[in-house]
Each structure stands twice: as structure tokens, then as C-alpha cells.
Amino acid sequence: MKAAREARPAPLAAAGLGVVVPVLVVALVLVMLVAACVGSVTVPLAETWRVIAGHVTGDLSGVDPAYDQIVWRYRVPRVILAALCGAGLAVAGVVLQAVVNNPLADPYVLGLSSGASLGAVLVITAGAGAIGGLGVTLAAFLGAMAAIVLVFLLGQQGGQVLPTRLVLAGVAIGYLLLACTSYLQLRANPNELRQVMFWLLGSVAGATWDQLRVVTLVVCLSIAVLLLFGRRLNALATGDEQATALGVDVRTLRIGMLVASSLLTGVLIAVAGGVGFVGLMIPHLVRLAFGVDHRRVLPLAVLVGAVYLVAVDLLSRSVDPPNELPLGIFTAAFGAPFFLWLLRRDSTLGAG
């Protein structure tokens, strides 16, 4: 049987959440602090701390205005956005993999990223006037939502969401929209093209406090809601029939989870572009390390995802300063080898 090959317990399966969560929270705070210090201009840790503490307490006396500008206006928002993106994409990945019952699903599998890309590229290449004066962010969000609605409509039958059909519809819509995006790119001038490339590969460089308010609210709310559903997702993993017999309203759960994770992903992709691989890789990493119980996987994916993307963003701007590389290059450069290793290690992936 399929299950017999998975008989090894995960190495950290026995570690309690009461230990692992605080450890990861500390790691996240540390990596965020370091990320706030390091960059084209490195600010000493003490100064960084003074700036952050000053803004939190409202007492900015003794803070160097130049450091304040770098740390508070520029770096802290991008570090927070990186953490939110990592956390949100990882948790959306866990949920989507569970809901469509496919280990290869990621938050973009249902066409969200291609919809967002088309919206963004349309505005970048045709100018803000293209879609009623929308900015890139809003156009990307609307593109993502239009794509997911289309995929939903095509992926259901009589109100029943069929996971395989949904994934196939997502892939097909993805290709269709990609064709449109590619055509627009061909017609773009080099400057626009560079902007498009950066957007497509994802970046948190443009983070602003204004934008963070909405993003933080959406991400924290969605994560809080999704975390409540660990037990039901465990039940869903026994199959639709058995989950029903265990008291899960499978249809409502599936639609609810898809809507919540799509909204979350749509917002993130709108502000940070197509940060690939996090939503695919972090869920598998967490499962391999901590076991498959969703009540553990969901909160741990939030934290591991946040740590990972903050670290990746840090790398992306420290490899070749003062130039920055898009996040997508690093997430995929680490993600792809990891995924290949995973494929070779776990005989159940791709074999079932």
C-alpha cells in the first residue's frame, strides 16, 4: 500500500509546539533585526534598535536622522512585507495542497499569478491609463481575482468543486493568460521590460508603510482563520467520503479554504509580485521536519515561511550591492534543488 513506504516518523515529530514556536519566533525576530541592519548601507545593530524602539515608544530623541530614514522608512517596511509574504504564501501553500489533495499545488496553481501578472504588465506597458487609471498593485490584485473566479467557474460542476478539474482549469487559464502577458512583453520597451521582469520575479523593495496596513490586516486575519482549520484539514486528508463521515462539510470547507487562501495570495502577489517556490517548498519542508498533522504544519509553516523569505530578501540585496536581485531568482535557486532532493528522498511523491 501507498502508506507503507512512509513509515518513518519525521525527525522533529515529537517536538512540542510549545518549544518549537518560541524558538522560531526568536529566530524570526533575530533575522528581521539583521535584515533591518544590513544592506547597501549597513547600520549598526544598536542604532537600528534605537530607531525601532524610538518609533515604537514615540521617543525619537538621539536618533540619527539618516539612520532613521534608512531603517524606518525603507528597511523595516520591506522586512515586514517579506515576513508577511513568506508567512502568507507558506500557509496558503499548505492549505491548497490539502484542499486540492496534490503535493505539487502551490498558491499560484489556480492561475492567480498569471492573472496578477497580466494585470500588472498591462499597466506597466500601457501606462496607468490602461485600466481606468489603476496602479500596478490594484491591477495585479484584480487580475488575480478575475483569474481565480474564472478557474472556480470552470473547476466546479453543479456547485461541487472537483480538485483535479480545478487544478487543470488553473493550469489552462494560466497558460492562456501567460500568452497574453508574453505578447505584451514583446511590445514593451527595454525600460518597461525591466520593470516587468522585476515584477514577475517578485520583490519587496517597494514596500511602504501605507501599503503595509492593508497587507498586514489581510495576512494576519487570513492566517488566524486558516489556523483554526488544522483538524478539519487532517480529516480531509482521509478522503472526501471519510471526511464527510467524520463530520466535515467537505464542499463548504473546500470552498471556504480556497476563497481565504486565494484572497491572501492575491493580496501578496499584488504587492510583492510573483515570489515563487515559497508556497510549494515551505509546506513540504515543514511536513518533512515536523510531521503531517495540519494542526502543527499550519502554524509552523507561517513561521518558517516568514524566516525564509526575510532571509532570502536579505540575500537578494547583499549578494551584489548596491544592486538588488528579484526574490524569485533566489527562492527558486534554493527551492528547485531542495525540491529535487525531496523528490529523491520521498518515494511517495510523484509515485502515487
Partner: protein, 268 residues
Amino acid sequence: MRLDIADLTVSLGGRPVVDGAGLTVPEGSFVGLVGPNGSGKTTLLRTVYRSLRPEAGAVLLGGEDVWRLSARESARRTAAVLQDGGGSGALTVAEVVALGRNPHQGLFAREGAEDRSLVASALAQTGMEGYAGRLFGSLSGGERQRVLLARALAQRPRLLVLDELTNHLDIRARFELLELVRTIGITSLAVLHELDLAVRCCDQLVVLSGGRVAAAGPVLNALTPAVLRDVFGVNAVAERHADGVVRVTYHASPLAATTPASGEPGCG
């Protein structure tokens, strides 16, 4: 709790799979649902655990229409052990059994002392108490079915629905498992593929054929030579032997099979 099904009709892909079937499972009894492949056994079962809504007819548990209940309310009354219902196998036995508490836990509920003690007693009832920390995927087929039965018991159901509980198990495990269900004593409706097991372990049988009930009642009343011939296409007879055990004896036919030797464990 007594289950009554009346005038049940279910179509799949435009074809009636269950066609006006009715049956009763009396309180505390073990009723076997038998019939050839495609006779509608599993489809009928799906309407009982609220997975497939019937087009017509009623499924009444203790006089209450299960299709008026929510999935959660229904799962507090009816537990089902289905084929391949164990998930990926990477959860521990205790985690698998704890899923049985799902219908009793709200969205914000965490596993409490009562849940843990019910999980422990369900494991004890099925003889799996030493396995709580093992991975489900590392168990043998018979052990897995016991764990899934324990999960169903952790639901504290008043009706057990079993779909081919003993499929793929060796002969000894089959008898032991069905004997276990009998001793637990919860009202049970079980789809059984093997008539040998069905006649030895069930109080009553319901024979389905083409989505209709061809015969029903105490084992020997239901499984007459005529039913065996017309429904199952075998030349056979079910009879009580001198040792008090009911066995099916198959005579020469295209589906000839041997009867189990006497002295086997369980379900006597």
C-alpha cells in the same frame, strides 16, 4: 439506534443505482448488506453517512431524517469505516483515532482530557492500546482496520456503517474483526462481500440486486437457494450445520468456491 430506510432512490450519471430500496436495522443488531458487484450496496451506504443525497426516499436514524442534520450532527450519531479511509499513513495511531472526536469539537476547541480518554478507551476496546505512538502507515492491514474502527468508536456513534471492513485481510483477521464489531454491540450496517462471513457474523441480511432489495431477514430466510441462484448466480445452499454454525456450501458452478473448514475462530 434503529435505522429505517424507505423507498430510497439514487441515480448516478442518470442511471438508477438504488431503485426504491428499503430496509430496517433494528436497535443493537448487526445487519449485513450483500449483493453482487454493482448492486448498489456502497451507494446505499453513502446515503446513510450523508455523503450522497438520495433523490427520493428517507433515511431515518432513530426516527430522525439524517438528511435534515448537518454533517457534524450526523457524524455524532453515525460513524463509518470506509475503504481507504486512513489518509496518507503519516499520522500516528493516536492522531488518527483523535480525528473521531472532530464532530464533537467546535472550531476553537482543543483536544481536552475527555477527548484523550475516549481515544484511549477506543484503542483499548479494539485491542490497539499499545500502538498509540506508531505511524498508521507502519501497521499491518488488520491493525489498520482496528485503528479505523477505534476512530469510529471515538465518535461515540449510535450507528456503525462498515464498507468492506475486511477487504484485503487474511481469513483470521476477518473473523476477529467482525467478532470485535459484534461484541462492541453498536447497531451496525455492514457491506460484506463474502457470504461465508456474512452468514456467520450477521443477525440479518439484506440482499440487493440491481438497486432493489431482493430478500431480507434473518440469515437463513434471506439467503435461500433461490436467492443464491437468481441474485448471485451460484448453485449453493446456506444451512445450519450440526455445530450450530451457518455455512454456505457451493456446488459445482462457474463461481465455485470452497467452504471454510470448521473450527475457525469467531462469529459462531
